[in-house]
Symmetry: C2
Subunit: 128 residues, 2 copies
């Protein structure tokens, strides 16, 4: 059964699928990351977002260091079967490693990227 729904996903040549994480309720887009077959399967089993870190080349249990876990409320697949959208409850209210709620805090304003969202917590305190 599980293999079946995983097989319907069109994985990249690297065996990954892009994942958009959105805050349940507010609809705020928090971050964008990747999942492997294993990480998506584990995410469903545990009900928490577990990504695949392409830079570290290993499973990345979101919040394992910062405590800012993402509790999964909904999982969607797009029309081309190659992008996942998850709705999550963001523990700590912070998804970004910079200490901001969302990773999308740079807004284009007249030809410049301007940071428009506050740092809610010092990253040094998040990652001890």
């Amino acid at each position: 059964m599980q293999a079946n729904w995983l097989d319907q996903i069109k994985w990249t040549a690297d065996g990954l699928v892009p994942v958009i994480a959105q805050e349940a309720g507010s609809g705020k887009v928090l971050m964008f990351a990747w999942m492997s077959r294993e990480s998506l399967s584990l995410s469903v089993q545990e009900g928490k977002a577990i990504y695949w870190s392409r830079s570290r080349n290993k499973l990345w249990r979101k919040g394992e260091e910062s405590g800012n876990e993402q509790i999964i409320k909904d999982i969607r697949l797009d029309c081309d079967n190659d992008v996942i959208l998850i709705a999550v409850e963001q523990r700590g209210g912070i998804a970004c490693h910079t200490g901001r709620k969302s990773c999308f805090y740079q807004q284009l304003q007249e030809g410049q990227w301007v940071s428009v969202e506050p740092v809610l917590k010092d990253p040094k305190q998040m990652y001890k």
Copy 2:
């Protein structure tokens, strides 16, 4: 000036950047696509979403056939400078080529992908 903000984006080896399109107001995530340097630059100039079609290998003016254009209200860049989030006003209320509002209409339910959003318009009528 324009070259500057475009240079801050970390483009893929293929010269693209992933783009999440979200409906302004509702926060509904509508679709996921790619933009090239040229298509993003044109999107900003024209105030409408112009993607890069990887399958057709050319500029894709969203809505050019269906009329379902996306008017850009906000453009964000993430913390890693490699993902764009745009807030759009979705003309016609339909972003998906299947005639649904959002491309993310398949919901994971007990090990199965289930279509949970209605087809608002017959695709045959959208693409004559």
